[in-house]
Amino acid sequence: MNILVCVKQVPDTTEIKIDPETNTLLRNGVPSIANPYDICALELAVRCKKEHGASVTVLTMGPEQAKAVLKECLSLGADHAYLVSDRLFGGSDTLATSYILSTAIRRLEQEHGVYDLILCGKQAIDGDTAQVGPEIAEELGRPQITYAADLTLAGEEIHVKRETDDGYDIIGAKLPALATVIKTNFPPLVPTMKSKLAANRAVIPVITSNDLEIDPARCGLKGSPTKVRKTFVPPRGKKTIKISGENPEEAARQLVEAFRQAQVL
């Protein structure tokens, strides 16, 4: 079984603060992390590996620093890691990104055989688009199952527990296929001292445009159908009426009175 997991290095969006004076984003000092949903995808891959035996490859696109997330994945149980990196790829939207990643995946498959299963996080916490996974599946012509909470192998098929509004669907698909993974509730993977050291020493191959049969017109800013016209910090702030009673009962009564006056109830 040959599994590929796509990961992304993202800013930890829970650590982003707004400068109250200028109402702008404070990016300095925001740590870069592996996208949490991608780590969930890696967890499912590593669980497959433990149960059925599998080779787990991780792939990311980004600058040189993105090797840090690949090393983290290696320390958590991935066997191989590749960085896709080229100035030509900078500024890519989801369509261009999925084209580049798919081209890199095809290239890797020429050498290592078809990946039976490609896993992605359901979305990255910086863009939150949830588009790159399905777009890779489309580009590679493979079936997709989004919002996977768990999966099991059943012969030539994969059975995926797909989250729905009011529960789960079990969806079957023939391999090769792609699944995107939600936050799972399995105990998190923990690296050992040994696996950490090995990951730190690992040499990560870099795939550039020279290694790929790729159409530059479909890459980067130029190859992206969507363009960001501008960004802004959403307006915040409201006049809050602080309610402070002598005791909780008093505060509660005041609040109910306020509801009544505003005709909320």
Binding site: E138, D166, T226, T231, V264
Partner: protein, 333 residues
Amino acid sequence: MSTIHPGKNIFVFIETENGQPKNVGYELLAPGRTLAEQSGQQLVGVVIGSHVEQCARDAICYGAEQVILVDGPEYEPYTTDAFSIALTRLIEKYSPSTVLMGATGNGRDLAPRISSRLGTGLTADCTSLEINGETGEMVWTRPAFGGNLMAMILCPDHRPQMGTVRPGVFKKRPYDETAAGEIIREEISIAPGESRTRLIERIKEVSESVDLEGAEIIVAAGRGIGGPQNMGIVEELADALGGTVAVSRAVVDAGWVPHAYQVGQTGKNVSPKLYIACGISGAIQHTCGISGADYVVAINKDPDAPIFELADWGIVGDLFEILPALTAAVREG
């Protein structure tokens, strides 16, 4: 025979399940109609499903000027392949300038598959839609960086321009049962091999369906609730107010309450009359989901919690004391 002018119409995809529409499709007909009028285009509803003729009729009553209806057994249950084949074929045939879809689970599964097949741009989870009346170019506004930043996105050189919108962002137009509009039937059959996934089993975990988007009053719990064993005091207040319980992402991530109850960027967008946030710090990924609320109450121990910045009323204090007191005060009337 079709009277639709190619390249001069706005498609709104109306998702159905078990013959029933998802509300977001009808919601999108409201901004869709405005955008169409501003740019001299037609608003076309697209209904795909099994036994969904009534949905097509209702789409007209909610504002569609025309509806394209694809009705067949292969469209129930939803599969990525069948729906992407059908919708792509309709887009290729009718060349709409713009396609709007609901950002439901299936909508977010389907939209990128189609935009990728068509090689066009897609903007996810838009919270505001504008159009250039002359060129028909859309300006898609969406949150990024966990809602800390809003981005305005264009798709200048590719058509159709596509976007998804989350449920609850827009309100439906009033139902006009006298509205007239043409329903165009399209037969698109899917061969058995074309659909590569199949539903094996459907498991319902939430006993009754949770309708946060439609709730008038919501009492929401955050990490401050401490654990699932304490949800009772939240439920009691919701009960007393005739409202619905919701939670923040932290509560779902901790495994205390199912995801169906989650409000915020990775949960539901809500627009109640009253939203009571209990023990919710007010991270922007949460608060961007309640921007449609008329009144917000914040109850939190931490006087510096950001939730107070957008609350109409704030009580600094222990929710374990305040909620039961509030429940009692509401019951006393």
